[in-house]
């Protein structure tokens, strides 16, 4: 007799959520073992085994749907794999990795319209277009996200208050639905699918091409201002007050600061250069001028810096680092103005390669909540205070200003977001999970929302609370139309919508 055992999932951050649909599907055919891989969320705190297919053509995508049908499995779409949690995981099922569909199909430097396959990364895109004076209209903090993934999660950048999410810059797209139907969607045709699939976290269909309107730039440089803020209210006030003059705004918050200084930090504001401000734009718009330096301080290879971070990435090390960073920002660094390349300003997460490895072995969970103007201050102060009280303090806090948008699955607010990186360890896992459940209630009570690209711990009821029954019903109807067999699923989909 053999007994095969699986450690029970004790918390929602554990991998391997059982698939409720498993019993209903035929399971008479095995998937090839050579496809079996360990796939983890970007934060490394969740992961699982899946059968990964990497087609390079639309026919290849259709074949993967067919394989799923034949073997009784579901298909989870995956781009760059930069979602922090389980949005691009599909444990014990098929993972359709689209990174090989990475051709730039059409480019018109006269109007900045670009049509790309879904696996094209933000990095590919900016490197391709910058020489013509165009920049992606919305970028994530890492340049390794794919356009398909960005569209599926309807990502935002540091310019959300002004430019909206990436969906606001998508002119049209083509998609292959699990039914085999090819659809073309824009604001003029198939509009319900246009507003549903953008932000639809890959649950409705697979983008096969996306057309974006790029942003015209007149220099490779940005004017950057650094402003120190003494507490959370100062942070929120400055982010709001500066939204008229800035093109990008991002606040760093020291989550260890308490009392009067709770939420203190530093804001970076960036503005584009107007035509003529840069005497040699053709030079600053070269890829070489944009590249992040391979060495820090001139000699330390950036690729090994995470090794030096690892021993100090603990409560005391981070508390001291944050203090030093804040003191610098409040004194010498305050109201400093300098020029920075687009790449250096935009892709902070790429500055130190593999920095997330310093969070090993437990990884990190990012908790990002979106709050309206009226409730952001009390809720964010409560979130920070509660984390400190529970002894689980995030090592990084990032505050941004946001604006509403029209997409169906929607995390937008006229307000702010606070993103917190919590280190996950063997000993804090249970208390972190409990803390995040408490925070969910506080955020929902404040009229707040959440973003699936960051999520690893939400529950279905919380999602119903912030999306509302009406949106969920509409989304369910789209799902029924595009994917009646419910072929497209991920670990996140089952966690949040599994009981639908």
């Amino acid at each position: 007799m053999s007994a095969i055992s699986q450690k029970d999932a004790v918390s929602s951050v554990h991998n391997g959520v059982p698939d409720s649909a498993a019993g209903e599907r035929s399971a008479g055919v095995a998937l090839p073992l050579d496809r079996l891989e360990r796939v983890a969320g970007w934060g490394m705190a969740v992961g699982g085994m899946g059968y990964v297919y990497r087609p390079s053509t639309i026919d290849g995508v259709a074949q993967v749907f067919e394989i799923a049908r034949r073997t009784g499995r579901t298909v989870g779409l995956r781009g760059g794999g930069n979602s922090y949690g389980d949005a691009a995981l599909n444990s014990e099922n098929i993972i359709l990795d689209l990174t090989r569909m990475n051709r730039i199909l059409v480019w018109d430097p006269s109007n900045g319209r670009v049509t790309v396959e879904p696996g094209v990364t933000i990095q590919q895109l900016w490197r391709y277009a910058i020489g013509d004076g165009w920049w992606p209209p919305v970028v994530t903090g890492t340049s390794f996200a794919t356009v398909g993934g960005c569209a599926a999660m309807n990502v935002h950048g540091k310019n959300n208050f002004k430019a909206g999410p990436i969906g606001d810059h998508i002119l049209e797209f083509d998609a292959l639905l699990p039914t085999g139907e090819h659809v073309h969607c824009s604001r003029d045709g198939n509009t319900d699918l246009f507003y549903g699939m953008i932000g639809g976290f890959g649950a409705l269909g697979c983008f096969t091409s996306v057309t974006l309107q790029m942003k015209k730039i007149y220099s490779g440089w940005l004017n950057v201002d650094a402003i120190s803020v003494p507490h959370m209210d100062g942070m929120l006030y400055e982010l709001d007050a500066r939204k008229g003059q800035a093109d990008y705004l991002v606040g760093w918050s020291d989550a260890f600061a308490s009392g009067e200084t709770l939420g203190r930090g530093q804001i970076h504001q960036a503005t584009y250069l107007a035509p003529g401000d840069d005497p040699y734009p053709a030079q600053s718009l070269r890829i070489e001028s944009q590249e992040i330096p391979a060495n820090l301080f001139g000699f330390l290879p950036a690729s090994i810096i995470w090794l030096f971070m690892k021993p100090v990435l603990n409560d005391w090390g981070t508390r001291l680092t944050n203090l030093a960073k804040y003191m610098q920002s409040a004194t010498l660094g305050n109201h400093k103005r300098y020029r920075q390349s687009h790449v250096a300003f935009a892709f902070l997460l790429d500055y130190v390669p593999n920095w997330k490895l310093a969070y090993q072995p437990g990884g990190l969970i990012q908790y990002q909540s979106f709050l309206p103007l009226a409730t952001a201050s009390p809720v964010y102060r409560e979130i920070l205070a509660r984390s400190q009280k529970r002894g689980v303090v995030p090592y990084l806090g990032v505050v941004k200003r946001h604006r509403p948008d029209d997409f169906l699955i929607n995390y937008s607010v006229d307000g702010y977001s606070l993103a917190l990186d919590y280190k996950v360890t063997g000993s804090n896992r249970a208390s972190l999970t409990a803390l995040l459940k408490e925070l969910d209630r506080i955020v929902i009570a404040g009229g707040g929302k959440f973003y699936f690209a960051k999520d690893a711990t939400l529950q279905g009821a919380t999602v119903r609370a912030f999306l509302g029954e009406e949106r969920i019903r509409k989304f369910g109807a789209l799902k029924e139309r595009c994917d009646p067999e419910s072929l497209l699923q991920t670990d996140l989909y089952r966690r949040l919508f599994g009981d639908q």
């Binding site: 007994a3 095969i4 055992s5 450690k7 059982p18 095995a30 079996l36 085994m49 014990e92």
Partner: protein, 233 residues
């Protein structure tokens, strides 16, 4: 042995997939486990000699469990063999259940754990594999070969974060030993289970059950062949 182990692991929060030949017996064990709150066992009637069914069955079990952390191969038979009996059919059965079934199942687990860079493979072998005793040549062979197979797996997978545990029980009070002449004292199933679980917890490479057998087998392995032939052990 497998049933007792399953109950113990279920109490410790494992979600279980139970594979065994006799469906009714399997259902009974699972029902006991599922009767307690917070424990869960799924059952899969299967004869380990049905090698062709294993890849599909393995995948569907792992899928139903939602992943796999630990596999325990506990299948084993020890038919009574007379001192002058050389029955190939009997011997073949022993090798198929005790060895080939183990290889067929554990190869599946090995591929997965290799890719996962994590996992734990456990198999119940026997002290009988440490020496070719006169009583049951094929049984000793099956366990010796199983030990070597597990050692090879350990040397392949150990550096990848996968543990492989070879359990070597002496005679345990299970249906397998009932009514048969056994060497030494019979260990209770509870004691054996507790020690097996302890060995799994510490991710041991090898564990004798009970531990006294480690010393006994140390001595027995060193008895010169000329003397061993004349002893009745």
């Amino acid at each position: 042995m497998g049933a007792a182990l399953a109950q113990n692991l279920a109490r410790r929060g494992f979600r279980l997939g139970l594979v065994a030949r006799r469906a009714e017996e399997l259902a009974r064990v699972a029902a006991e486990i599922n009767a307690s709150d917070g424990t869960q066992a799924f059952i899969y009637p299967h004869d380990v000699r049905n090698y062709d069914a294993i890849p599909v069955l393995f995948q569907s079990i792992v899928r139903q469990l939602g992943g796999l952390d630990l596999i325990v191969y506990a299948a084993g038979i020890m038919p009574q063999v007379a001192p002058n009996e050389y029955d190939f059919e009997k011997d073949k059965d022993i090798l198929e259940v005790n060895l080939l079934g183990a290889i067929a199942w554990l190869n599946q687990a090995a591929v997965r754990f290799d890719r996962a860079q994590a996992g734990h493979i456990v198999a119940i072998s026997s002290v009988a594999g440490d020496r070719g005793r006169s009583g049951n040549p094929a049984y000793c062979t099956s366990k010796a070969a199983l030990n070597t197979y597990l050692e090879s797996l350990r040397n392949r997978l150990g550096r990848k974060g996968v543990a492989v545990t070879t359990l070597k029980p002496g005679p345990i009070d299970t249906p397998m030993t009932q009514g048969k002449p056994v060497a030494g004292r019979v260990t209770s199933i509870d004691q054996a289970t507790a020690q097996i679980v302890a060995a799994i917890d510490r991710r041991a490479n090898e564990a004798y059950i009970p531990q006294q057998w480690k010393f006994i087998m140390y001595v027995i392995r060193r008895i010169p062949s000329v003397i061993f032939q004349r002893l009745n052990i």
